[in-house]
Subunit: 512 residues, 2 copies
């Protein structure tokens, strides 16, 4: 057994059984060791941003970390943006970052760089295994650290000689630290404040947006308290049979209008709402004037348990109203995000997983699917576009029996387009939809909002993707996916229905 064997065995012993990899020379021992550990499934990604986004998607759905395999600092950097999203999602995730042999670093060979420095901004935990004997124990520590509370990225640097040197040491099986519990008294105190308020709201985020938390939130809503989620959450359980909380609006002035008159905001696994971007003369904080905020618990706590305690303290009923299944009619007319959303809502199967990186098309589709069959919706938590395809890969690996929809703006999809190949290679049950409006449409809106005025010719050229038009069917086909283009919503509805009624990879370009 060498250090690489000790690493993979320890990871598998601690429940890490998926590795999204883009290896190089310094990772060859790890690659070789995969042949000796059948518990670990390895998935090749042709770009590190695909690997890290896939690990995020896996972690969101599996509730435990996958690992990535990255090639030194430059490989880490390529994966950095989707690790930023993972950090914001609180996803447990273990990066294995290969490095030069310990004794080789001093020579500053071309690929040498400050790996720990690069990993620090995104990582809960960064350590380097400086000898073969430390690899296993540090791997166990990394897995535990990744569960955080909230979870996040643990980055284990693996020098090549630590990987190739013999060792007898594997790491222990470690139990993640339990989450902080909110007491019944603390919940009762907040219940009293809610009862005393004129217009209280609950704002929830983090792990409370999963099925069990949403159920407790529904109980609270049944007492007459409005419940909202953060604008972007890692994973929201929704659709028929579930309570549907509202959602904080994206644009600050709309959010403030929506919250007008609210005098108490109770925060559950989240913090005071803030605008996604600053704009001249618009507020950063999105709590209305005169609104007090109080935290039921932060993201380090068991928010689901806290919600349950709060619901009990409010005297909420055990069974609260939920959405009934209600599917839109066959959409007709113009193809746009609303009609496309209706089509998606009609055909999305039970228990689907939606990876939403659809930017301007996303909200209409989200709204259209409120009463569709029950599903999980995965959102862009960190604002770094290029998450949609990778996240779908990881979700499909974590949940092979569930249909995965990857919804993408064309600008966003280009960032990590290499992921299409991995979907084809692994024959994942993923239907990728790209909404091709041939523009960074959101920036056309944002430009006015930032006070930058109307774009002139030079500015327009930086917002437009239409010259040349990307032929998404060629692109997806070239990467091995069965692909088609739909120019009308009738075509889309038929194509999407077909895609939902089969398993395996599928690509649809929805022309907008």
């Amino acid at each position: 057994m060498n250090g690489a064997d000790a690493l993979i065995t320890t990871l598998a012993d601690n429940g890490v059984t998926a590795c999204f990899a883009n290896p190089g020379t310094s990772e060859m021992q790890f690659v070789s060791a995969l042949d000796r550990e059948p518990r670990m499934r390895s998935v090749l990604c042709l770009f590190e941003g695909v690997a890290t986004g896939a690990a995020d998607g896996y972690g969101r759905m599996a509730g435990k970390p996958a690992c990535t395999l990255l090639h030194l600092g430059a490989g880490y950097a390529n994966g950095g943006a989707n690790l930023h999203n993972a950090r914001r999602a609180g996803t447990p995730l273990v990066n294995v970052i290969g490095d030069h042999a310990t004794y080789h670093r001093q020579y500053d060979a071309p690929l040498n760089s400050d790996i720990a420095g690069w990993a620090a901004p995104n990582s809960l935990w960064v350590k380097s295994a400086e000898s073969a004997d430390t690899v296993g124990p540090l791997a166990a520590e990394a897995v535990r650290a990744s569960f955080g509370a909230p979870g996040g990225c643990a980055s284990l640097i693996l020098p090549a000689d630590s990987a190739w040197t013999e060792t007898a040491v594997t790491g222990p099986v470690l139990t993640p630290a339990p989450r902080v519990q909110v007491t019944a008294d603390a919940a009762a105190a907040i219940a009293a404040r809610i009862k005393a308020a004129k217009k209280p709201v609950i704002l929830m985020g983090g792990s409370t947006c999963r099925d069990t938390g949403v159920r407790q939130a529904g109980r609270i809503a049944a007492t007459g308290v409005r419940v909202l989620t953060d604008t972007f959450v890692a994973r929201l359980a929704r659709g028929a049979g579930r309570f549907a909380p509202d959602k904080m609006m994206y644009f600050g002035e709309m959010a403030l209008a929506d919250l007008e008159g609210v005098d108490l905001m109770v925060l559950v696994e989240t913090t005071e709402p803030v605008a996604f971007f600053a704009y001249p003369d618009r507020p950063s904080l999105l709590t209305p004037e005169g609104c007090a905020t109080v935290s039921l618990c932060g993201r380090e706590a068991d928010g689901v348990g806290a919600l349950q305690a709060l619901a009990d303290a409010l005297g909420a009923p055990e069974a609260a109203p939920v959405e009934a299944l209600e599917l839109p009619a066959m959409p007709i007319g113009a193809q746009n995000p609303y009609t496309l959303g209706a089509s998606i809502a009609r055909h999305m199967p039970d228990n689907a997983i939606v990876s939403d990186d659809a930017v301007t098309a996303g909200l209409p589709i989200f709204q259209s699917t409120k009463t569709a069959r029950p599903h999980d919706w995965l959102m862009l938590t960190g604002g770094a576009i290029g998450q949609g395809i990778p996240l779908a890969i990881g979700a499909a690996v974590a949940c092979p029996d569930r249909k995965v929809l990857s919804l993408n703006g064309d600008g966003a999809a280009m960032y990590t387009v290499q992921g299409l190949w991995t979907i084809a290679r692994e024959q994942l049950d993923v239907c990728v939809v790209v909404f091709a409006n041939h523009a960074y449409r959101i920036l056309n809106i944002e430009m006015g909002r930032t006070g930058a005025g109307n774009p002139g010719p030079a500015a327009k050229k930086l917002l437009d993707l239409g010259d040349p038009r990307i032929d998404w069917v060629s692109l997806a086909g070239g990467l091995g996916l069965p692909a088609e283009r739909c120019s009308t919503v009738e075509e889309f509805d038929a194509a999407f229905e077909r895609a939902m009624n089969q398993t395996g990879p599928r690509f649809i370009e929805a022309a907008l």
Copy 2:
């Protein structure tokens, strides 16, 4: 004038007239200001790694910085790997990294991150313009800093409010610090050591590999001293009419065999040669036993002047022998990197620029073109693959009258495949060739060398790109490039000749 105007005006005043951009909301003021500064050419890239690699290519060819426009920390991270290559190349380059408004940072909105922390490992200089009045002066400082000695990345963080606030302050025009000069006495002392040595060699890197340096190196070689370059240099002037130095070999044991008996190594704008990677039981340092090393100058100095002084001190002739134009015959037989190299050598026009990210195909083509028409060869300085297409974009923007060849392994090309679209949009005179061997071929070689043994099924799956086979013609066509696949070297020779005899974008998949 707002801060964004002050920035672009100051950049242009300081000679920065190309901007490779992937903007977001926080950069809208910069985008808008482009309409008011006609000296700045902006080029949209659909992924930040394309933008940073293009800025590297521009800087290598223009000898002055381009700027990038990146969207907060996540945008920087996406560009990080090619900035690592730029750092290793010593390329002057100014990153403009948009940030949240200064007062908005405290709220830790989703895209917030430690930008300065992320930029530090790759940057010579990182500062944030905390007010509109500081933007112009800091921009001037950034440009000067980027020239370094050697050059590198200067990263200017631009908070949104610094960009949108009015200001009357632009930055001054600053002159980069001059490079250190090597005295005639110092050169004479080293000349004496060379004369006293049995088997001296010169190892040169950095700026000495450009035309003027290679000419001085040729003079030294004419005195009987062997001259080599580093394995990977930013830009090597070569071909007919130029002296052709040897090249340090990539694999350490071959390099040491090649240097056997060398008793003195004179370093010019480089450091002691080291293995690219460490391997068990193989040396890291590539100076043979008993070989003394002496530095004529480091990369902070004027290496060309130093070489000239050394040549003079050695009594070298003013005019030294150069390679005569010698073009291979029409290649026949199997299509492989050698026959393809012959075809490329035959048709490459005068003054071409080659961006080499061809990995295993690269060296045979490099060797085949030694006596081709004069050209510049741009290499992968930092080992982070995915440089070839972006670098070609920047070179073509810097040198619109020169033909640019982008040579890429298929694994490498996938990293930044988005760059093909920019080549099409800007109608750059770039011919992209992808050598499709459907594998990370180099890793099949490296696996054995690292002692990891022969790959089993799991390992093989991480080295193989053949399932599914990427259809590069579909991919390139989908991104707007005229594209064709060549399965025989006769087909390739005809296609490549056609590509060389026309201007504008062209894509060739060479099936291997």
